[in-house]
Symmetry: C2
Subunit: 320 residues, 2 copies
């Protein structure tokens, strides 16, 4: 029974992509409820410019108002030194930096070449100087929706450059749901080969999207390869602009439900989490991709219909 660690990203990766602003109080309540579910980490918000991501313009207030629970790390996305300063002032437990391994996607998303992004993030890492742990999320590690293939060697090379700068963790992201299980197995093995000996404390997290239905199959492949840390988003919130109407992030409750059913220890109270997941459609005012919210857990049984009881009696009578 492997101990697995989940980072809940719905209030950052999910809400960032919503059309309507989720009220600050609702965000705080949701995070406070999630804090009681057993997550290792919650990505609370993003300290980006309110102009860039208006949906998360209340990051400082949210961080200030949430009730922190011991054992849960509250991480925030940070694009640059200004964001890092705000995050540290807000006493974030971790700064999550992000850049893409695909040049075209980086230009598209961060409006600068990868080399420039790397310089910006390297500067943040040097300035923070170990005062707050840093994670780097690498986007498009399994493919770019515009470029196509992304070389595993490029992913490992960027991970290595950040590991050399002393970051605590690397998140390998399948930003647009292009990963398939065999690729995940290869990537995980490649990462372990490159880092297990040289950087034994480096935390590897996998971040999958369910855009092409392969999300949980990829989680399974990653767990089989020895990965113990995952990002996931309650309800599967967090759409992909390249696939309108398709699923976004893997749904936390679906991944956790599958892994617990298979005997893994996720530390999560799944019943408590399901209650929160069922509130999500009301919070975001639309249906969410999660199937589990509609179907219920494996153990949520259905009553036996009256006609089946009658049939059973009938046959028991005729047999006796």
């Amino acid at each position: 029974m492997t101990r697995l660690y989940f980072n809940e990203v719905a209030t950052r990766d999910g809400f960032q992509n919503e059309c309507n602003f989720i009220p600050t109080g609702t965000k705080v309540e949701l995070i406070d409820e999630l804090s009681l579910c057993g997550y290792a980490k919650i990505e609370v918000s993003s300290f980006t410019s309110p102009k860039a991501i208006p949906m998360l313009r209340d990051a400082d207030e949210v961080m200030h108002r949430i009730k922190r629970v011991a054992g849960v790390e509250y991480t925030v996305l940070v694009p640059n030194m200004r964001g890092a300063e705000r995050a540290m002032l807000a006493q974030a437990d971790e700064l999550n930096l992000v850049m893409s391994v695909s040049e075209t996607h980086n230009l598209s998303n961060l409006r600068m070449p990868r080399a420039n992004s790397f310089s910006v993030l390297a500067e943040v890492i040097r300035e923070v100087d170990g005062k707050t742990p840093i994670n780097v999320s690498l986007s498009c590690c399994f493919g770019c929706p515009m470029e196509g293939n992304v070389a595993e060697a490029d992913v490992l090379a960027y991970a290595k450059r950040f590991a050399d700068l002393g970051v605590r963790g690397i998140t390998i992201c399948d930003t647009t749901g292009m990963a398939h299980p065999a690729q995940v197995s290869r990537m995980v093995a490649g990462f372990q080969q490159a880092f297990d000996a040289a950087f034994p404390a480096l935390q590897l997290t996998l971040h999958f999207h369910n855009t092409r239905g392969m999300g949980l199959a990829n989680v399974l492949a990653a767990v089989q390869g020895g990965v113990t840390r995952f990002d996931a988003s309650l309800g599967g919130l967090g759409g992909c602009p390249y696939a309108p109407g398709a699923s976004g992030n893997i749904a936390s409750e679906e991944a956790i439900h599958m892994l617990q059913a298979s005997g893994h220890d996720t530390g999560i109270d799944i019943d408590r989490l399901m209650k929160i997941a069922r509130q999500l459609p009301h919070i975001v005012s639309h249906d969410v991709p999660s199937q589990l919210v509609k179907s219920g857990l494996i153990g949520d049984l259905h009553p036996v219909p009256e006609y089946v009881r009658e049939l059973r009696k009938h046959y028991e009578g005729s047999a006796g």
Copy 2:
């Protein structure tokens, strides 16, 4: 690279659950298109009473009108001897018999105890007497929505009873999407241990639903365990009455896409199949669960936006 074999069940398991009758001509056209995709098998329809399943009341006509393609087996669901006679008259390549391993589900679905169902099916098998190959689909092998747990030993015991009667294949069905990957691995290993030596020619097929999001993860676990035959339904058609709004069968195109990407040979022309899958929402007049229909294949790239081209030029200029 394992050769995998797919049985397309959309026109039976899918259409059976539709609210509106799909016109016979539409069914015939769809099956004729599917016949050109490389399927090992197509479950065309069901020779049940038109009262029991009105949506498939045209089974005889559909079987008569389809253009058969060499290499594709055309199978039909058959509940009893009357159905078997109609199916053989229609020159079905295989009869697919069905009963549930759960007593409550069998009463609910077939309105008789399992013992009675077994007698009915055993009689069919004896009467058919090898003139047409027979497959038996066992429902609720991974759990019953009313009873809960279903013992693996019960599944293997029913499979053994049918194997002893000389059937060609057994399909182990996760009728309501309750299977999880570890359970699939155990079931497959148990089946192999029970049958590989004694019945080396017995064909094992796995039938999964995506009701709780685990469909493709279960396919992956089954393939890893050595399973080579799968049922799947184009678009993911085929709802589950116990989970309104949730996904039904695994989507053929999603399973095939994942397995091909991972290096397996499914024999399927995925591009051709995707064109057909994209017509499905028009045929059934509603959205279908398949994510892949919305997102496109991994290789379906998106154009680089103009602003990204401009940015790239700008930075190349400033670098030079």
